[in-house]
Symmetry: D2
Subunit: 343 residues, 4 copies
Amino acid sequence: MIRFDNDYTEGAHPKVLQRLMETNEEQLPGYGKDHHTASAKALIRSLCGEDVDVHFVMGGTQANLTIISSILRPHQGVIAPDTGHIAADETGAIEATGHKVLEIKAVDGKIDAGQISRYVEDHWNSIEREHKPQPKLVYISQPTESGTLYSREEFEAIRHVCDEKGLYLMVDGARLAYALASGDSDLTLADYADMCDVFYIGGTKAGILFGEAIVISHENIKEDFRYIIKQKGGMLAKGRLLGIQFEVLFEDDLYMEIAGHAVKMARILNDAFTGSGIEMHFPSPTNQIFPVLTTGQIEKLSKKYAFHVWEDIDETRKAVRFCTSWSTRLEDVEALIEDINNL
Amino acid sequence: MIRFDNDYTEGAHPKVLQRLMETNEEQLPGYGKDHHTASAKALIRSLCGEDVDVHFVMGGTQANLTIISSILRPHQGVIAPDTGHIAADETGAIEATGHKVLEIKAVDGKIDAGQISRYVEDHWNSIEREHKPQPKLVYISQPTESGTLYSREEFEAIRHVCDEKGLYLMVDGARLAYALASGDSDLTLADYADMCDVFYIGGTKAGILFGEAIVISHENIKEDFRYIIKQKGGMLAKGRLLGIQFEVLFEDDLYMEIAGHAVKMARILNDAFTGSGIEMHFPSPTNQIFPVLTTGQIEKLSKKYAFHVWEDIDETRKAVRFCTSWSTRLEDVEALIEDINNL
Amino acid sequence: MIRFDNDYTEGAHPKVLQRLMETNEEQLPGYGKDHHTASAKALIRSLCGEDVDVHFVMGGTQANLTIISSILRPHQGVIAPDTGHIAADETGAIEATGHKVLEIKAVDGKIDAGQISRYVEDHWNSIEREHKPQPKLVYISQPTESGTLYSREEFEAIRHVCDEKGLYLMVDGARLAYALASGDSDLTLADYADMCDVFYIGGTKAGILFGEAIVISHENIKEDFRYIIKQKGGMLAKGRLLGIQFEVLFEDDLYMEIAGHAVKMARILNDAFTGSGIEMHFPSPTNQIFPVLTTGQIEKLSKKYAFHVWEDIDETRKAVRFCTSWSTRLEDVEALIEDINNL
Amino acid sequence: MIRFDNDYTEGAHPKVLQRLMETNEEQLPGYGKDHHTASAKALIRSLCGEDVDVHFVMGGTQANLTIISSILRPHQGVIAPDTGHIAADETGAIEATGHKVLEIKAVDGKIDAGQISRYVEDHWNSIEREHKPQPKLVYISQPTESGTLYSREEFEAIRHVCDEKGLYLMVDGARLAYALASGDSDLTLADYADMCDVFYIGGTKAGILFGEAIVISHENIKEDFRYIIKQKGGMLAKGRLLGIQFEVLFEDDLYMEIAGHAVKMARILNDAFTGSGIEMHFPSPTNQIFPVLTTGQIEKLSKKYAFHVWEDIDETRKAVRFCTSWSTRLEDVEALIEDINNL
């Protein structure tokens, strides 16, 4: 079975494991107070801006629930696309910290500035607004859960609404690497740091064993953030593990190398599908692509390849997801293309 | 600087890293549904009993908050020693899930069956009990945060009270390895599984990079446990990492080998201190020892050794903690002994 | 200004205040342990069945959050119509107790057994269900927030789905009186007690100063319910106030008398609107009616009458709500009818 | 049975009920937006200072949990005496909102500035402070649960520590009336508004049916407070009930008249006990007194009088509580005195 079902099917990029080996005997203080963590933070600050705070946690749900609960007062909620990870795939993790996820209908995984603006205006125009959760934070993912991207223009419009309406803006960047590597986006890490109040740079789905780097720009969110990481169970005793891995990622541009490879493999596959007349469900320029296949086609390909069935399109067709990563081999992609051409 | 300040100052036992290397290219399903995780669970069940459920999470605070919140209804609290980790060192993680930690005064890190029984009887005898959190769960650590152990007899008495009063019993086993390896305890993993409703076998402080194995005996707690792990941010995308590490620990008895070495090193140190006429603050037979030193002695030893200042005894003396682990070298212990003898 | 904007615009039915006067000097134990409370509970049990538990709290949001948090484990959510009070009008009160409200699209304020069944089946059929809140409780309102009613048949179908899928069923009966009094429903309090696991009989909107009577049929929910009322701030020191008021309501059938009057007034109004060719937005047979008026008509009527603008229908028309109660006077209704006829 | 067991054994002062009768027919907007509520707020502002915000809720636990959860971020805790109501008598209501109550050992129900200062300094001096809840708010009761009072000097010292350490200060004034009426305190409502960031003026235990008036001085706490009241289930549909009752209390000084009477009755009783050689457990100058009686004396008095057994002193003696209120009759006090003299 050749796996295209996810970008976390292997362990880690070999350089990551090698560095863990090399540093294994170092005796270091715990809880992220070691020099590797300091150095990884410095590397990220050098890309994002010297005034940001950087923290590492183990996974995306943990990043989301720690960030969101650190920002909101009890009566406040977080606006999110209805397809956003916090709305759809985290077992109510945000609600478990006491806050409602205020869902807005997404198109191709995205919501736009106008929708956010209308939602917030409706709230403040209501004479019964005190009976509703107050929108205070906007959560979006870049790339989205559908593999699509917010353009610079769309992003700036959302930032503008947030400024206008007194909202915080956060970006779930579990797969941010693939946005950065995509030809379709000209946004840099410095741009994200500039436009977001807080965002995170995903590691788990970009070649390391586990870990997300939270980058905080807003002073209010910086305050006491480590307390909240600890309280939510996200502070690793051997915090070095996160520091070392992110050091490797951000030295010598490994992060972009990994992402660039995955996006390239995905483009090749995408072109093969569309070249065979197969429609794509979302216009995704990143490492996830969503061809629409017939049940017959799915059955055929499933014999050799693992991929994810995403959703039903009609009685005979389903959107499926193929996902690439640092470990995707060109020969596997070529094999798949041959099978696509023979569908 | 030779470090005796903790049992998590290095990465992992070399065998653990080696296995992570060897398995790195395997393409596996995520979220703990891989064959390594299955095999690690089977190894633990073979030691604890075939009818337990086993789950892996990343750290102790995460284990505690996930377990406790999975058990209690909103009005119920958890009884704990006032020196217990959940009471003293987790930034209110349990309260953040809505539950009060009902603290009982500990002696040498321990509480006894009589104290628990009186606390619970006082609750049920009170005509105003509905105005107090209802005690429903007992939390103890084995070994305790003071390095001491509950004997089989003490344990059985606590279990008996729990049965009598309708309480669940959980054991924080972040350092359980050192209890198992200590000559002072004849309790086995099967005994813990038998006497506890849920406990965990710590890996982070016993030679792996990170991870705790939660062992559940009680049917009520088994139900839907994975949902709660996910919700609390404890479900690793690359769950394999936990499975692989625990596989290594429980094949070929590595877990006991690691713990045995650490306890042996601690005994040697302990004897050196007491042989020099230095009093021990707690009677600890595990991998943490707590000599009472003068400020002068602390100053001297601090030049070469890292250790933890635990608490003030009087104006001139403090209890300190020396901690051993799989990585403690005999030559370092011998150097320290020489310096102890010259204090 | 003649008010039809709500059913809580006055204090209480005169008999309620009179009884509070008469009993004022009685010296009674606090927290609902007085004889009036016992007697009110007995009256309600005589209507609902001897094996139910009855508790009184001060308001609807309090009833909802107390009930729901008492039932669910952390990872479980409550299914509700998207127009349901807990979804739309309680400032995230349910989420503040840690639980997601799982919204289902309502028609005329109602959801049906098929929708619930599909939602729950989708959950259990998903291989990623552990990443979603688990549906465990169904919340519906009778009458709904749109004034409509679930028929006996619809109710039985929902109960059947709940049994089949292992769900609890609760009914928000803030305006249950008007369902009981409507000719369209043949469901009795005993039927609700029989079909629901827990429901409540609203007092605030049915003639008393404040108070809701929670009726619990399911043994699991009965356990320790008073603790949770206390914890959530719902236990009144002078609990007698709730007992006395519900005593008055359920002696001599005052509850039905109040509701009958309000429904009758609403029917008269309803007929006047439809008789004038005015369309009703929801088919409501209870004490709330929802005519669709032009902005001109709204402007005219607003000069003499207070009512609620509910929602926009199109550019020139809005649905509005007229609400009747125990205190609605026939002469005011007749004045309004005259003005309707002259619209 | 003549009751001295509490200050909430009757309904309300007759003037309160009378006003509820007189205003019953008024048709008013809900949720505290009526003119009575506005007028009650104005009366309280005229006593506390024009720049405070005033809100009414139904009871003390509700006031405490609403205030505290509105102030704290997730990792912060509230310092309280271990005998404080939130620590001892509210079923973990504060923990249920996610926050630890940081208990300090009280003497006669009080903690002092030095204790608070040391607690907070210990926190900030700890290198592991991020592993502990951060103290951010001080909760004290005036009078305390033991009937004792903080003097102006003690209060100013606590305020000073709060300023120095960046802490908020709140006062639980469930029985504040009796502090105001006691000859031992020269603190006025304006003083409390000046020194506290938020406090409340209890009504339930001072002659009304139910209700507490929350007075907020700090701008941060003022923001969006009504949302949080609503979310926690504390917003009464017929909010007028709170407004009307507090109007009555603060017109014509009824509040002080009620409290003055109760304190006077308590002083007479206190003198009778001490005159008979009976020791008082706490030095209480308010409406609660705590004589230490033998079991024989308790048995005798229990035949005619209801009072509260507070705690065991030794094998033969217990502290008991006698409590007076607006409704305590001089003839009942005189009867009791006669019986005291015959003990």
